[in-house]
């Protein structure tokens, strides 16, 4: 039987076993673990040096709550040879992506924001554009990828699962919204992502760990003031708007503790969640 050869992005072949436990390549220097911040993520960094990608309907770069974009891209199908990622000057076709970007900026004001538009305008919303945009974000190794979208199409589940695993092993935190209806959809359902639902408190840094996953964390998602296209604002409710709060928290953690792996960031979120207490 042939064992399939698989390479993660930009690295050598997958290591199937270890033969030299003294190898220097095994040395890992970590800025954490240590005591969790006593006041949750509130005392952590501002997101400086952390690259965050918003996979959504695009982002209005001039909205004051967005505070500028590093770059904007979209999925282009016009080339005739499959989908490709190209620079995008269309902004936001709906407002949803701008809302998410503004929330991330409010939580992690100094992070670097990039947008990849996968819905709206000529994009049909079949899921192929979503997959292409997410694949690009994973290949670009963003530190945090905000995905306030999901698809119930099982045809896409396997490919999304593969992408979610690739993101996890490449050190990218994929922060994904649970669907607002009680249905199965993807990629939030996968354990390699960080899945988010809503609580109704108004505190943007109040995080609750869910002891009964698959939804792992709850953040502010009710009546959230958000940026919208063309400088407007709205108040929105739903998991779409809870997710960027957690993406922003991840950016804060990574700006204080650069280089943490996704499972470490998830653990720090767990340790700083309002409902997690140490047993004396």
């Amino acid at each position: 039987m042939t064992v399939p050869h698989w390479s993660p992005f930009g690295t050598g072949p997958l290591t199937w076993r270890i033969t030299d436990l003294s190898a220097s390549a095994l040395d890992v220097s970590s800025v954490w673990p240590g005591p969790p911040p006593p006041d949750g993520t509130a005392s952590l960094g501002s997101g400086a040096g952390v690259r965050v990608c918003v996979v959504d309907s695009g982002v209005e770069p001039d909205h004051p709550w967005v505070g500028g974009l590093h770059a904007a891209y979209t999925v282009d199908a016009d080339g005739g040879d499959g989908l490709r990622i190209v620079p995008d000057g269309l902004g936001d076709t709906c407002g949803h992506g701008t809302a998410c970007a503004g929330i991330i900026r409010s939580v992690a004001p100094d992070c670097e924001l990039t947008s990849v538009r996968v819905l709206g305008s000529s994009l049909s919303g079949t899921g192929e554009a979503l997959l292409a945009g997410l694949r690009w974000a994973v290949e670009e190794r963003f530190d945090v990828i905000n995905m306030s979208l999901s698809t119930p199409k099982r045809d896409f589940a396997l490919r999304l699962h593969d992408l979610a695993d690739r993101a996890y092993f490449a050190g990218s935190l994929l922060v994904a919204s649970a669907h607002n209806l009680r249905i199965e959809s993807y990629p939030w359902r996968f354990s390699s992502v960080l899945s988010v639902g809503s609580h109704s408190l108004a505190d943007p840094l109040h995080l609750v760990y869910n002891p009964e996953p698959p939804v792992e964390f709850f953040a502010r998602g009710v009546d959230v003031p958000v940026a919208w296209s063309d400088g407007g604002t709205r108040r929105c409710t739903g998991n779409s708007f809870a997710t960027p709060h957690v993406a922003g928290m991840c950016a804060r953690i990574l700006s204080s503790y650069p280089g943490l792996e996704p499972f470490q960031v998830k653990n720090m979120l767990y340790l700083t969640a309002a409902n997690v207490r140490s047993v004396p």
């Binding site: 949803h96 819905l119 305008s121 609580h199 009710v222 709205r234 409710t237």
Partner: protein
């Protein structure tokens, strides 16, 4: 639907008023529970990529049913495209809210809730609730209620669409089965005591057709 179900539904589909009343009853119930100014079900027409008002309760109920707009527009368009629920308040704070659509419906809402009508992994359309009551303003429970009504509306809309599809196959343009309707209508018009001979005749026709004759 399998072929037998399809023909049965089609033969029963002389009039889709009953199914439309079912959809309408869902939007009426949702509007009542949410204390809303209006509630509607919009069906996606994939042939034209438009959203069509299928049922309306409250503002617009006297003129909106049957009217259409491009599916990519507005909050309903986003929900159709993304398959995600959306609750947006303070619409007046946004200059991009698609007022053209809202004004064409002769009602400009301050708040909107919209949920996809998900039939498996297909989005059949969108359910919209405009200007819900204040008691439902800041609650996550409203999402659950919206989901329940959307699930009901999905089943009702799927029934309407199946029936229309079946009727088109029987009676519309390029109707493959229009003769079947004629035979069924002629058969059911017969007195009961004269049906046995017709049944034997129809069985012989069916056997002949099955044999390639």
């Amino acid at each position: 639907m399998n072929r037998h179900d399809f023909i049965a539904a089609a033969l029963a589909a002389d009039d889709d008023a009953r199914q439309q009343r079912l959809v309408r009853s869902v939007v009426q119930a949702a509007r009542g529970v949410f204390g809303a100014q209006a509630c509607s079900v919009l069906a996606h027409d994939p042939d034209t990529d438009e959203l069509v008002f299928e049922a309306v309760s409250g503002a617009g109920e006297d003129h909106l049913v049957g009217s259409r707009f491009a599916a990519g527009r507005g909050i309903a368009g986003w929900v159709l495209l993304s398959g995600e629920t959306m609750i947006v308040d303070d619409l007046s704070g946004s200059p991009v809210f698609d007022r053209e659509i809202a004004e064409s419906t002769r009602y400009v809402p301050r708040a909107i809730m919209a949920a996809p009508l998900l039939d498996g992994d297909r989005v059949l359309g969108v359910m919209e609730v405009l200007d819900r009551g204040e008691e439902h303003r800041e609650s996550l429970r409203v999402l659950d209620w919206l989901g329940l009504f959307a699930a009901q509306a999905t089943q009702a809309l799927a029934l309407v669409q199946h029936t229309r599809q079946a009727r088109r196959a029987l009676r519309g343009e390029q109707a493959d089965l229009s003769e079947v309707v004629l035979v069924a209508e002629a058969f059911t018009a017969l007195p009961l005591d004269r049906r046995a001979a017709s049944r034997r005749l129809l069985r012989a026709v069916a056997d002949s057709m099955a044999a390639g004759g």
